[in-house]
Symmetry: C2
Subunit: 163 residues, 2 copies
């Protein structure tokens, strides 16, 4: 039973790693050049601080996810993992929300502020960003599940060892 | 000792409640009317989905924070509070990140997307939003501390009871 649970968690962590890694890569490779009234305009993730933050956050969480996979099952460091999961899930949540807010303005614009939507001009770029956001969202959901599961179960052996 | 700890948590929860409540109120009351080339323009939080989300999230967390204050110390519901703290801290983190991303565009603009900064025109409104973001940020930090503390300590009695 414990083995099946461990396998499930490992599988979830692998999926989360795949999701955050692909989110970072898809966002980082998103760019499109278009001509607009004769002027060549390039749309790139690095033009928006929120998208840069998204790439960096997903890259950091991917590195963390990779390191956790190699942690031996009996390691005392697992005690730290719950706390680290909290911190990194916050980081992912925050980055995806910021990117989503900017993407929403990019798609719909904001008429009160006079910000025009840009997705009509750079459709490919917008599709790329949408893909990255979906991958990032899957990553957040999996980390959230892992976290609630950790709080519920993983602290058990930790505290049984103490008593 | 346990009494002091309980008092500290209670105090932190009170501070978090004050922070989220004032964040919601300050953001919800932020509006400014200005004339721009002879046209009257109103800047209001409800014109941006991210700011609306910020107000709603802070209001929800305020209600939750208020309810938790009235939870009796021996209540079995405290077992739930750790999980709920995770969910509501995520909600706060997400709302403040989205609002911050939009506020950054409002302040600095985004030259690649052709979005002009608006803070020069509606300085009062921007100051209001800044105040709300600072209050929200304080709320997130306190909830984060409470959460890491809960994970570290509050699960202890819960699991001792089980064994």
């Amino acid at each position: 039973m414990a083995k099946i649970k461990r396998l499930c968690t490992l599988l979830l962590r692998l999926m989360a790693l795949a999701a955050t890694l692909s989110a970072a890569i898809v966002m980082a490779t998103s760019h499109q050049t278009t001509t607009f009234f004769g002027v060549s305009v390039e749309a790139k993730y690095s033009h928006s601080p929120a998208f840069k933050y998204f790439v960096i956050a997903n890259a950091i969480v991917s590195v963390y996810g990779l390191l956790v996979l190699f942690l031996p099952p009996k390691s005392l460091l697992w005690r730290l993992v719950v706390g680290l999961d909290v911190v990194f899930t916050m980081l992912l949540t925050s980055s995806i929300s910021a990117a989503l807010a900017i993407a929403q303005v990019g798609k719909k614009g904001n008429s009160s502020a006079g910000w025009l939507p840009i997705c009509g001009q750079v459709q490919n770029y917008c599709d790329h960003v949408k893909g990255a956001l979906i991958a990032g969202f899957i990553g957040v959901i999996i980390y959230m599940l892992l976290l609630l599961y950790s709080i519920h179960i993983a602290l058990d052996p930790l505290l049984l060892q103490k008593t």
